[in-house]
């Protein structure tokens, strides 16, 4: 599954304005490895991420920092061990300068050391394992997305602010699922009517729905990623639970899943870092061009992939063509001075974004179809709760 794309100089010729920087070592090109899980239903995150990455490269005229790009894409099959061998190949065989991608925290945990030891830049376009925000932070790792707890923390804050007096918590029985709950509770700090840690891959929810109904909570806080979220939402609606219990989710509803959720998602709330309704020129152009290129609305994962590419561009620009000048690259990337569709964000000491989080709601549009709308900011320039454990010097 080797998909090597050589963006030739010909692409650059098509652009009206030539890049301002002329690299001193013109023959050299930036080598980039993109690794993410693309297989199966879970491959949706990787696909959106890579599409965003490709779109950014288009917007940059096929060049990073004015230099030609050699991009290699590889599939990690969602497995840490495959991730390790892909990373190994990127470092030893392809000799890449930058690696981007990675959907899952367990894959990130398996590969980050290889990158750091070989002084290869690693930009996570999704996985936000807290280990990287804490003691494993290093000059070669940058987070283009968020830290795992941040979105549930924003949700906890939102539900507290809205005066939801009690919740029923629903999360998956594995590490990230528990992190979601601790992040949520860190901010929510109110009684819970009950908690279920379900088995990953669960798809019949009637037993859980009966249990939730019996405790009569005001709302549900749910971490229900992918297909599990789709099936939960269908059954929640079919059981008529939506009439009495509000639904607040994280990593469940997004542009990638909204078509599958259909009208079932209408009336539910979620939090995310991307103000998809922002009228800024950058955001509008991003959405318009993405729809034009891929025939579908970008998801939050596309934004993350897009920004990962922009960060590489920023680093290469900072190096002024000398890719061995790691100090210059790191310094440049730390400014986070990119035109992100999410708007302005800055980097904390641990290279984790300090950014806004928003409340979004799914409503019915004029045709009765589901539509995601942003309902204001929940957390402004929020920091993750791990950065104090990071001892990196800037």
């Amino acid at each position: 599954m080797k998909n090597q794309v050589l963006i030739a100089a010909a692409a650059a010729a098509a652009i009206v304005t030539a890049p301002a920087i002329t690299a001193p070592v013109a023959a050299e090109s930036v080598k980039v490895g993109y690794m993410q899980g693309f297989a199966g239903g879970r491959g949706i995150f990787g696909r959106y991420g890579f599409e965003g990455f490709e779109l950014a490269l288009d917007h940059l005229g096929g060049k990073f920092g004015g230099m030609d790009v050699e991009l290699t894409k590889k599939d990690t099959q969602h497995k840490p061990d495959v991730g390790r061998s892909v990373m190994n190949e990127f470092i030893k065989k392809e000799r890449v300068n930058f690696v981007a991608g990675i959907t899952w925290s367990n894959v990130l945990a398996a590969v980050w050391k290889q990158a750091a030891r070989s002084k290869t830049y690693l930009i996570s376009a999704n996985a936000g394992w807290s280990g990287m925000a804490g003691k494993n932070c290093n000059p070669y790792y940058f987070q283009a997305s968020w830290n795992n707890d941040m979105i549930p923390e924003a949700m906890g804050k939102l539900m507290k602010k809205e005066g939801i007096k009690d919740v029923f918590e629903l999360s998956a029985n594995y590490q990230a699922g528990k992190d979601m709950l601790s992040g949520f509770n860190r901010q929510y700090q109110a009684p819970t009517k009950g908690k279920i840690l379900y088995k990953l891959g669960n798809n019949d929810w009637q037993a859980e729905i009966s249990q939730i109904r019996a405790t009569k909570p005001s709302a549900i806080f749910g971490f229900l990623p992918g297909g599990m979220g789709v099936s939960f939402m269908k059954q929640y609606k079919a059981a008529g639970l939506d009439k009495t219990v509000k639904l607040y989710t994280v990593y469940t509803v997004d542009y990638g899943t909204i078509r599958a959720h259909g009208t079932n998602a209408i009336g539910s709330y979620h939090t995310t870092f991307w103000n998809s309704d922002a009228k800024t020129a950058t955001n509008q152009k991003f959405i318009k061009d993405y729809i034009k290129k891929y025939g579908k609305h970008p998801s939050m994962f596309s934004v993350q992939g897009y920004d990962a590419a922009l960060l590489i561009d920023l680093g290469v620009k900072g190096s002024k063509g000398n890719l061995k000048d790691h100090k210059a690259i790191t310094t440049a990337m730390r400014t986070a001075d990119i035109k992100s569709p999410r708007g302005k964000f800055t980097y904390n000491v641990n290279h984790s974004p300090i950014q806004n989080y928003y409340k979004r709601e799914v409503i019915a549009d004029a045709d009765g179809k589901p539509k995601i709308v942003v309902r204001g900011m929940v957390a402004e320039m929020a920091k993750d709760s791990h950065y104090k454990k990071c001892k990196m010097a800037w």
């Binding site: 199966g40 239903g41 491959g43 949706i44 696909r47 029985n173 908690k195 279920i196 840690l197 379900y198 088995k199 891959g201 798809n203 019949d204 009637q206 037993a207 859980e208 009966s210 249990q211 109904r213 019996a214 992918g226 297909g227 599990m228 979220g229 789709v230 099936s231 269908k234 059954q235 609606k237 079919a238 059981a239 008529g240 990638g256 899943t257 078509r259 599958a260 959720h261 259909g262 009208t263 079932n264």
Partner: protein, 316 residues
Amino acid sequence: MLGTHGVLGMTLLLLIEQFLNGMQFGVFLFLISAGLTLVLGIMNVVNLAHGSLYMLGAYFASTFFGLTGSLIVSLVLMIPVMLLVGILIELVVLRTLYERDHMDQVLATFGLILFFNELVRIIWGVEAQPLTLPMWLSGNVEILPDAPYPVYRLVIIGVGMAVAAGLFWMITKTRMGMLIRAGASNRPMVGALGINIRFLYTMVFGLGAVFAGLAGLMAAPLQSVESGIGEDMLIFAFVVIVIGGIGSIRGALVASLIIGIFETVGRSILPVLMLEIVDSEAAQTAGPALASMLVYILMAVILFFKPQGLFPARTG
């Protein structure tokens, strides 16, 4: 013990409701297992791709529903399509495998799983496909006080029971059923009597595919329609037919109900039960983990006492 305060924080009413949920899940499992037990018991073919046929049923349901807006029309369209898919698989892949070892069949049908998972991604894309419950099926009835029950789940029970009755009638009362049973116990003899056994097997496999497709169609309004959904269901289906006795429709029905109830009631009670023994954090983690093992423990126990399953089929 089951007073108004309930046992272990669970009220009697909730427990009854969970039993009902379990039975409903059981009937759904039967829908999936019926075709599998037919093919394995009668044709002696291990068909791992049964889950893929279930998945295809769900995808066809989504597509046909999108085109016609009617679940019933989708059902009518789905049946011949799934029959055709089943017949094609039988002709192209399985026909050469009857004389071979079970291991070869496992390999070939496992290959089919990978093939179909990739195929639906190529045809329909990675995103889960839309299918929302039509209005007339989305109501609720109050069977138990304070616990409205989705009408659609009652429809699943109805369809499952109809399939069970229909299959039972076909196997025991019709000429086709008689031939199927005869073919299962002595294939060369039936052939020698001038019956086209090849055609018969093709039809049985097609029928199995239709049942898998039907289960997929029934599941689609309640579950996510995406690549790979068949595999989780396949494991349950195999547990069901092994417990029930391979090839026995009655066994599949009884085993489905047992598994459904055990799984559902178990996973709602166990975490609460665990709380009595260990502290909250451990119970929250170990409870669901243990609940997901429950079905396999049950299978081991049943097989220890009845190695042939609960209703050993009287076939070869």
